[in-house]
Amino acid sequence: MVMAVTVHIPTALRAYTDRRESVETEGGSVGEVLQQLTAAHPPLRPHLFTPDGRLRSFVNIYLNDEDIRYTGRESTPVKPGDSLSIVPAVAGGR
């Protein structure tokens, strides 16, 4: 079954999603949602994945308020109405 999920895009990556703060996408798992998202916005892909298709280590993905590293990574199942957040490392402060 296909599920609608809201993906929150951080400011630093909105240049690759036509400035949109969130994107509605579909998929039964976190991995499928991210594939759909990067298929719809190809310039986003290198910012989330390495060339061999692994999630980059400095980008954290949260399903609702949980880090997917602790819930089964990309195979974590998603439900309708879930929100997925891309949370890249940010260093600014001065």
């Binding site: 951080p10 400011t11 630093a12 240049a15 690759y16 703060e21 190809p42 310039p43 910012h47 980059r56 280590s57 400095f58 954290n60 949260y62 308020d65 949980e66 880090d67 602790y70 957040s85 949370v87 890249p88 490392a89 940010v90 260093a91 600014g92 402060g93 001065r94």
Partner: protein, 391 residues
């Protein structure tokens, strides 16, 4: 929860201090004992900039007894839009001198300890050991990881915040068994991938909001009241005016705070973050750059060089080199078809960092005659057209 400091019998409040702090003293959760804890507390603020300004102002006003600050920079005109601890007449002055003048005016009872050094693996542990709490207001990944590791190794909690444009993150890290920054981000992004505030900009109010959250968390930790921002991260989106909270877990495999740590002393953080030598960006090989004067000379001799601007449209409104074409860096991959691979092309941005990435991308895409404008439009303003505004 346990408090960081205990008031010693030697700590007393003077009559003036009782008056000054009276709005604290009448809160049952603070009271005279709490105010004495604040007076006994030693807080180290890393950076006297966007985050450090509100942190310093509010902690000094609140009566934190010892306030250390680490910064080696001088006040610049571009700082004043957000670093409210400094004023226009402070431009050119060391930030610590300027900050001290402001803070001692706000509260002369605070002992201010300046550390006018670049925080490094050689000095961090020694500096941190004299403090109960660190507030991290730095602006780059090597120092973020250095502050994190030094906090874990010395057992000093880290009140963390970070900002970008309209977004902020905050958390209390390395607090008695809680997660550290490496639990959250085991590795930094490669240099140049995440823009800095100098490159990406920041709305001036944002560090005010995130810095005051840090100041509040610092005071709660000192007093031992409430629930600290531990095991969670606060995300703030100013454009949507939305706060969100994410869970943060201690990673048992964390190399610095995990069960079997592999990092037991401070490392080379420039190397860890992929940055070597003094330059923040790897220098492109010789022959990849032209200076503004060279470009100007080419143009004057009628050489048909194409000049590509990879900044954002709002930057073009501030200043632009004439007869140039705008394609923002983020749009470049999908707009390559608008360019001619065999045409001589010079790429520029604000300072030359984004354009260096654009040059690398264009070369990989088969462009053979591409150069980076060394120092960007800032250098162009210095060398060719001083009438252009700097930003």
């Amino acid at each position: 929860m346990a408090t960081l400091t205990e008031p010693t019998p030697a700590i007393e409040l003077s009559k003036d201090e009782i008056l000054r702090y009276s709005r604290h003293l009448i809160i049952p959760e603070v009271g005279v004992d709490g105010q004495k804890k604040l007076k006994a507390a030693r807080v180290l603020c890393i950076g006297a900039g966007g985050l450090g300004a509100p942190v310093g102002l509010y902690l000094a006003a609140a009566g934190v007894g010892t306030l250390g600050m680490v910064d080696f920079d001088t006040v610049d005109f571009t700082n004043l839009q957000r670093q409210v601890i400094h004023g226009t007449s402070d431009v050119g002055r060391p930030k610590l001198e300027s900050a001290q003048a402001t803070l001692s005016e706000i509260n002369p009872n605070v002992r201010l300890v300046p550390h006018p050094v670049r925080l490094s693996s050689e000095n961090a542990l020694e500096i941190f050991r004299d403090y109960d709490l660190v507030v991290d207001g730095t602006d780059n990944f090597p120092t973020r990881y250095l502050v994190n590791d030094a906090c874990v190794l010395t057992g000093v909690p880290n009140v963390y915040a970070s900002i970008f444009r309209f977004e902020g993150q905050a958390s209390v890290l390395a607090l008695s068994g809680g997660p550290c920054y490496r639990c959250w981000y085991p590795e930094p992004p490669p240099p140049g991938l995440v823009p800095s505030c100098a490159e990406g900009g920041v709305l001036g109010v944002l560090p005010g909001i995130m810095g005051t959250i840090q100041a509040m968390e610092a005071i709660k930790l000192i007093l031992g009241i409430g629930t600290p921002l531990k095991n969670r991260v606060l995300l703030f989106d100013a454009l949507q005016l939305r706060f969100r909270e994410l869970k943060l877990r201690q990673n048992p495999d964390c190399p610095v705070c995990g069960a079997h740590p592999t990092i037991r002393e401070l490392i080379d953080y420039q190397e860890f973050c992929g940055i070597r030598g003094e330059a923040a960006e790897p220098e492109p090989p010789a022959g990849d750059e032209v200076t503004p004067r060279e470009l100007q000379a080419w143009r004057q001799r009628g050489r048909p060089v194409f000049v590509l601007d990879v900044r954002e449209p709002h930057e073009v409104q501030i200043a632009a080199i004439p007869d140039t074409t705008l394609i923002p860096l983020g749009e470049l991959p999908r707009r390559l078809n608008e360019l001619q691979p065999d045409r001589e092309t010079v790429v520029y941005c604000r300072s030359g960092q984004r354009s260096a990435r654009a040059v690398r991308h264009l070369r990989q895409a088969g462009f053979t005659k591409v150069w980076n404008l060394k120092g960007g439009i800032l250098a162009w303003a210095d060398e060719v057209d001083p009438s252009l505004p700097r930003y």
